[in-house]
């Protein structure tokens, strides 16, 4: 039996590849939508215990968070995908996309749309790599201190999983470099899919 705690370099590489395919697709959609080149990549992926998340994120900084539930068409719910925009990144993103950040509601809804695009792209990537079809629900939005937003998500999954896969994601256009965190909160079934994926590289 695999343990998600002690993944080897190669296994982490495979996970990063899943992240890269996902954000690559999202970058293509965003580029088409905006009519200019947006690039996204996942330089680092980490698997973190929920209790130790405070080592990876600034727990008491205000962030905007977009969360979608991932539904497996065969088995039901598979987990949550959570996109964490640090305050600086949300402003930069909104500025790059809207050109104007004065309307807060507009900024929030832009972030939600990016969350929507990312989660659909991520589901496309898992369909491609794992041949599992996942459907994202429409996004929910929260703005609060980072750990409180995560707290609201993990309380859903506490029974089923203790680990989070953190994709440190970089989004670039010609002028900006923006950092966001894409976090996958898998339930037991989704952890199985991840092991299937890792099985492919062994």
């Amino acid at each position: 039996m695999h343990s998600i705690e002690n993944l080897s370099e190669i296994e982490l590489d495979a996970l990063r590849e899943l992240g890269n395919i996902g954000v690559g697709k999202a970058a293509t959609s965003l580029s088409q939508m905006l009519g200019r080149i947006i690039e996204m990549s996942v330089p680092v992926v980490k698997v973190v215990k929920v209790q130790e998340l405070h080592n990876v994120i600034d727990v008491d900084k205000i962030v905007a968070g977009v969360v979608t539930a991932l539904d497996d068409v065969e088995d039901g719910q598979a987990g949550f995908l959570y996109i964490n925009f640090p305050e600086q990144s949300s402003l930069k993103l909104a500025e790059a996309l809207l050109g104007d950040t004065s309307d807060e509601e507009m900024v929030d809804s832009t972030l939600m749309e990016i969350g929507n695009i990312l989660s659909s792209a991520f589901c496309d990537a898992t369909a491609e790599m794992l041949e599992k079809i996942l459907i994202p629900t429409p996004p929910s939005f929260a703005k609060d201190i980072a750990i409180a937003v995560i707290d609201a998500i993990v309380s859903q999954l506490a029974e089923k999983s203790d680990y989070v896969v953190v994709f440190e994601t970089k989004l670039e256009d010609s002028e900006n470099e923006i950092e966001i965190l894409v976090m996958l909160f898998p339930n037991e079934k989704f952890v199985e899919y991840i092991f299937q994926l890792l099985g492919m590289v062994e």
């Binding site: 405070h54 939005f141 750990i147 707290d151 998500i153 993990v154 506490a158 029974e159």
Partner: protein, 156 residues
């Protein structure tokens, strides 16, 4: 704050004199227990109300209360003197499309009845709302400070 101990998500700590702190209660709940006679207190950051027979973990309210009482007894506390305070259970997500994320209310109800089962009196609480909370529990005198993420604070 001096003499501060951090309680992570799904963890609990018990102390005599120290300030117990948990950052970022969203829909989760911070449960504080206190024995005023010996000034021993505990704080837990619980995610779910009921354990349903799984292995013992402080992320479930029923286990957390039991584990805290045991730890407090080792520090000289007596369970029939213990009182409780709680804070949390907010609804952070807007544009709610997932019923599942409305877990706060369910948590509060379940925890109240768990405290009843243990015969522990709930003396004060600060529950609900739409923002996160950071909680400080002063085991030297049993006061609890709730600090909201968008500013403002409350002693309970």
């Amino acid at each position: 704050m001096r003499n501060e101990m951090l309680v992570g998500i799904g963890e609990f700590r018990v102390a005599k004199g120290a300030v117990l702190k948990t950052v970022g209660l969203g829909s989760c709940i911070g449960i504080a227990l206190y024995d005023p006679a010996v000034k021993v207190g505990g704080l837990a950051h619980v995610m779910l109300p009921q354990s349903n027979g799984t292995k013992r973990s402080a992320k479930y309210a029923d286990h957390a209360v039991e584990m805290m009482i045991e730890a407090m007894e080792r520090l000289g506390g007596k369970r029939d003197r213990v009182i409780a305070k709680m804070a949390g259970g907010a609804q952070l997500f807007k544009h709610m499309t997932m019923d599942m994320l409305r877990i706060g209310d369910r948590n509060v109800e379940a925890i109240s009845s768990i405290l009843d089962d243990f015969g522990i009196r709930l003396v004060s609480k600060d529950i609900g709302g739409d923002q996160g909370r950071t909680v400080y529990f002063f085991t030297s005198d049993g006061r609890m400070l709730v600090r909201y993420s968008r500013g403002g604070e409350l002693w309970i």
